[in-house]
């Protein structure tokens, strides 16, 4: 249980508070219960003494005192909750920019909203953010309800059809933060993951400018063949900026080679895994919406080679 960032710190504090209250209550009641059981235990089980229920103290003061203490603890938790709730409902500073995140069965579409449509940057499953500045998130869904959650950075927020939920996020330290869909959304709910890559602002700017560039057509022969095959076989679902592949059903692959993972953050992006994935996506993530294509061996190899050029 740890967090990094202006939004996570107060939540971690609150979580510790309620956890300590909870643990304290369990320990105190547990001890009282143990003493109560052992203190005047009857050692003749079953042979109940007919004369037992004679005098008994009223003992309702237990309830009065117990409820009084409980109420104080509840009040503390309530006040602290209200303070933290108010604290994190708006970002502490102006947000740097807005990222639109759309849940799909079973991957995340990510769009960085710029000033004009030329500067909208599309990517998928790996979200880069600059450190030290809050970023606004607009959460949507293309199909069913999902839930966006980067455990170390912030509380989760659902993506609801016909609704845009807005929240914000901030990371203090550079690093890779893992996240996962947390609302059950179908067979591959378990494999709908994502990465949030927090980078120092300069490095982030560099990534952002690079990612806006369309892909340069490959020079090597096999990669060129791969590009042609890619457009034919994959282009109706996937986009690679600057080519005729302009599909929107699957993740944008314009800079696929620069990503760490494929298949929504679940498989390392290495040549071997990438080949395996293209050859039979249903083997690695059964039920996902990418069909198994009938590709020849050379086609498969060329497509993989081409995708590796998309730095």
């Amino acid at each position: 249980m740890h967090g990094d960032g202006a939004k996570a710190y107060p939540v971690v504090g609150l979580t510790w508070l309620v956890l300590i209250i909870a643990a304290g209550v369990v320990v105190v009641i547990g001890i009282l219960l143990a003493i109560a059981v052992f203190r005047r235990r009857n050692i003749t089980p079953l042979l109940l003494d007919e004369k037992m229920p004679l005098s008994h103290p009223v003992a309702t003061s237990w309830i009065t005192i117990g409820v009084a203490i409980s109420s104080v603890l509840l009040l503390i938790a309530l006040v602290w909750t209200a303070v933290v709730f108010a604290d994190i409902s708006n970002p502490p500073r102006k947000t740097a920019f807005t990222i639109e995140i759309t849940g799909h069965q079973w991957w995340w579409q990510v769009r960085y909203m710029g000033h004009s449509s030329d500067t909208i940057l599309s990517t998928a499953n790996e979200i880069h953010i600059p450190t030290g500045v809050p970023v606004k998130l607009e959460l949507k869904t293309a199909d069913v309800i999902h839930s966006f959650w980067i455990p170390a950075l912030s509380g989760k927020m659902d993506t609801i059809p016909n609704q845009t939920n807005t929240t914000w996020i901030e990371a203090d330290k550079p690093g890779i933060y893992y996240g996962q869909c947390t609302e059950y959304c179908g067979v591959e709910h378990a494999k709908m993951r994502m990465l949030m890559v927090a980078q120092p602002p300069a490095e982030f700017q560099q990534w952002w400018r690079h990612s806006l560039q369309p892909a340069t057509p490959p020079k090597a022969d096999d990669a060129r063949q791969g590009m042609i095959s890619f457009v034919v076989h994959c282009g109706s679902c996937h986009t690679v900026a600057g080519t005729d592949a302009m599909g929107v059903l699957g993740p944008d692959l314009s800079h696929l080679a620069s990503r760490k993972m494929i298949a929504a953050g679940t498989i390392p992006n290495t040549p071997a895994y990438l080949s395996g994935w293209i050859a039979d996506p249903q083997a690695m993530k059964p039920g996902n919406l990418m069909p198994k294509l009938e590709l020849t061996g050379p086609e498969l190899a060329n497509i993989r080679t081409y995708l590796e050029t998309l730095k």
Binding site: I29, L33, R40, P53, A59, G66, G155, D158, G287
Partner: protein, 648 residues
């Protein structure tokens, strides 16, 4: 003979050995054989039937969990396909929450209520048989889906739009939706039966401040069901229309509202959480003091806390929806309400603690289960308190932390009191005591297995493990915790197995119990064990809260010194005034009849007709339904339903 309407019953002393008792036995005894079995309206037979059926569902749901715990025991396991996993976890939740948790408590209440109240049956015995059959058939209906590979696959709360046809094409969700509407008929009917019984069938003198807490628990749950079940039946009916006839209630392509589903569902399902724990808490509030050798501390406070919990329980449903983007003001209100609901629970906890502290505990197996329950109740309670805090809940919700919480609530506050209740009332139901030595093993294995299995879920949740994932990767840090959980769940299951073994052994070979083996104070222990078909030879006139402890507690009244009301003109019991229980009518009780079974079978056929869109099946079954209702309601002279009563 006009005495059916106006007759003052004799007031005299009779016991269970006399020729008087033989006469009553002849009047009340059902027919033997298969016909007797399907036509009985005896609350004792039906109560045990409810308990057995609910335990069968508990075992089925448990086996489902044991299968998918294997899948989760190691990362990247391939024991189940994702679709199989999804159906198993969904059916597990549905089975435990709807087909086990309430029916098992209904079973206890059906069996024990008339005995606690000094009545000869529930107010509506034929309705009682009907609600049992509907429960059984609705459970079978839902399992037909699973048997043909189309079990529910969207979890027990069945969120739209994933449950809509465009994302979920098979009949899976239709089985679940229609099954829930069908089951709702049983729940509502049983609830009405309890409310009417409470109002009219308490023995003379049993004013509302003298009824056991278990009665308060079941009564509040029943009142809540009558208000809450329509919400979920409506939701499932609208969903069925969306899926089958293209309506747009939840369909997002036509501006349907997915959050409407969540509101309708949780407006039912959060009260439901209290519905399936309050009667169980009532069992503890009545039975724990017996083993502490003193009355419950704070009877009035606990009774009022029971009612208060239920009332507040209707105002907290949005805490299941903190992450859906609702307005902060709404979240703040529901957060505060969800914290405040802890106060009535605190009242009960301190009442139980004070009862044990100031008592002289006799450590029987039943006592172990009740004392263990108090600790599990507190753990399940405080994790609920943690999730009531909105910003903290944004971390907890839909993770294994919530899975841990719900299991501490449902197993800790339902299963443990239920098993304790079995050890407590088994002698009453069968005439024999359960084996105490095996019972202690039973308790410790269940208690250790449960905590070993479910406590680590809190930690895997805090480490970020989402619920409802069919697998996870090895580098998350959840591997060891999941293995421990799987091992714990198998140990817990072994504990349940010991319970079953103990029941089977003790049923034939247990020590004879006699009427009151625990020296308890309430009315059911004044009858022989098992009670005769007519329950009470004479209807007692209740003088205090603990009729069998009056001497020792120095109560002014004497319930059993006095004679009781003699009722023997056919099946009769006494009806009393709702508040102070003064007798004001002799109630004629119905004979055994197969009509409830015929009616429920016809209704099941009707729901199958809806499932497959067969108008022929629906129309034929509607005719049978109509015919059964006419037979059921046809005025009978022996029930005093005709203007001129027959000579009986």
């Amino acid at each position: 003979m006009a005495d059916i309407y106006e007759r003052a019953p004799r007031f005299a002393a009779e016991d269970y050995e006399s020729s008087w008792a033989d006469k009553l036995k002849k009047i009340w005894e059902g027919e033997p054989g298969l016909y007797g079995w399907i036509s009985t309206v005896d609350h004792k037979k039906l109560g045990i039937r409810y308990l057995v059926t609910a335990f069968v569902f508990l075992i089925i749901g448990g086996i489902e969990a044991l299968i998918f715990r294997l899948q989760l025991s190691v990362p990247n396991a391939h024991i189940l396909t994702p679709e199989q996993y999804d159906q198993l976890f969904s059916e597990h939740g549905i089975t435990m929450i709807f087909l086990y948790a309430l029916p098992v408590l209904t079973g206890f209440s059906v069996y024990i209520w008339p005995l606690l109240l000094g009545a000869r049956d529930l107010a509506l015995p034929r309705l009682n048989a009907f609600t049992y059959w509907v429960f059984l058939l609705a459970g079978i209906f839902m399992y037909v889906g699973l048997a043909q590979g189309a079990g529910a696959n969207d979890g027990w709360f069945n969120y739209v739009p994933y449950a809509e046809r465009q994302f979920n094409g098979g009949p899976n969700i239709d089985y679940y939706a229609l099954g829930m509407i069908f089951l709702g008929i049983s729940t509502t009917g049983a609830s009405i039966n309890f409310v009417v019984t409470f109002l009219r069938l308490r023995a003379p003198g049993m004013s509302i401040n003298r009824v056991p807490i278990m009665i308060w628990g079941t009564l509040t749950s029943s009142a809540a069901n009558i208000l809450a079940v329509p919400s979920v039946s409506l939701a499932f009916f609208l969903l069925w229309l969306d899926r089958n006839y293209g309506t747009h209630f939840f369909n997002v392509d036509s501006s349907g509202q997915p959050l409407l589903w969540q509101h309708l569902f949780w407006m039912f399902a959060h009260p439901w959480v209290y519905v399936i724990v309050l009667p169980a808490m009532g069992i503890v509030s009545d039975a724990l003091p017996v083993f502490c050798r003193r009355p419950l501390v704070g009877y009035a406070a606990v009774a009022l806390a029971t009612v208060a919990t239920m009332v507040l329980g209707f105002g907290v449903w949005v805490h299941h929806m903190f992450a859906t983007g609702l307005a902060p003001a709404a979240l703040a209100y529901f957060s505060a309400a969800s914290l405040i609901i802890a106060i009535p629970s605190a009242i009960s906890v301190f009442a139980w603690l004070a009862t044990i502290w100031t008592g002289r505990p006799v450590t029987t197996t039943a006592f172990y289960f009740f004392a263990g329950f108090v600790l599990l109740f507190v753990i399940g309670g405080v994790s609920g308190f943690m999730t009531a805090s909105v910003p903290a809940d944004w971390q907890f919700t839909d993770t294994y932390f919530v899975v841990a919480h719900i299991h501490y609530v449902l197993i800790g506050i339902n299963v443990f009191p239920v098993v304790g209740g079995i050890y407590f009332w088994f002698p009453k139901m069968t005439g024999r005591l359960m084996n105490e030595r095996l019972g202690k093993w039973n308790f410790w294995i269940m208690f250790i297995g449960f905590n070993l299995g479910f406590f680590p879920m809190h930690i895997s949740g805090l480490l970020g493990m989402p619920r409802r994932v069919y697998t996870y990767s090895a580098n998350e840090g959840w591997t060891a915790l999941n293995m421990i959980t799987t091992i714990g769940s198998y140990i817990f299951a072994f504990g349940i197995l010991l319970l079953l073994i103990n029941i089977f052994i003790s049923r034939r070979r247990g020590r004879l119990a006699g009427p009151n083996p625990w020296d308890a104070g309430t009315l059911e222990w004044s009858t022989p064990s098992p009670p005769p078909p007519y329950n009470f030879a004479v209807i007692p006139t209740v003088a205090s809260r603990h009729p069998l402890w009056e001497d020792r507690l120095g109560e002014p009244g004497r319930t059993f010194e006095n004679k009781g009301l003699l009722l023997d003109h056919g099946k009769e019991t006494i009806g009393t005034d709702p508040l102070d229980a003064t007798p004001n009518v002799i109630l004629k009780m119905p004979e055994d009849t197969p009509t409830p079974l015929v009616l429920s079978l016809a209704m099941m056929a009707f729901f199958f007709g809806m499932l497959v869109h067969s108008w022929a099946v629906m129309i034929v079954s509607l005719l049978v339904i109509g015919g059964s209702v006419v037979v059921w309601l046809w005025p009978r002279p022996e029930l005093g339903e005709t203007a001129e009563p027959a000579d009986v």
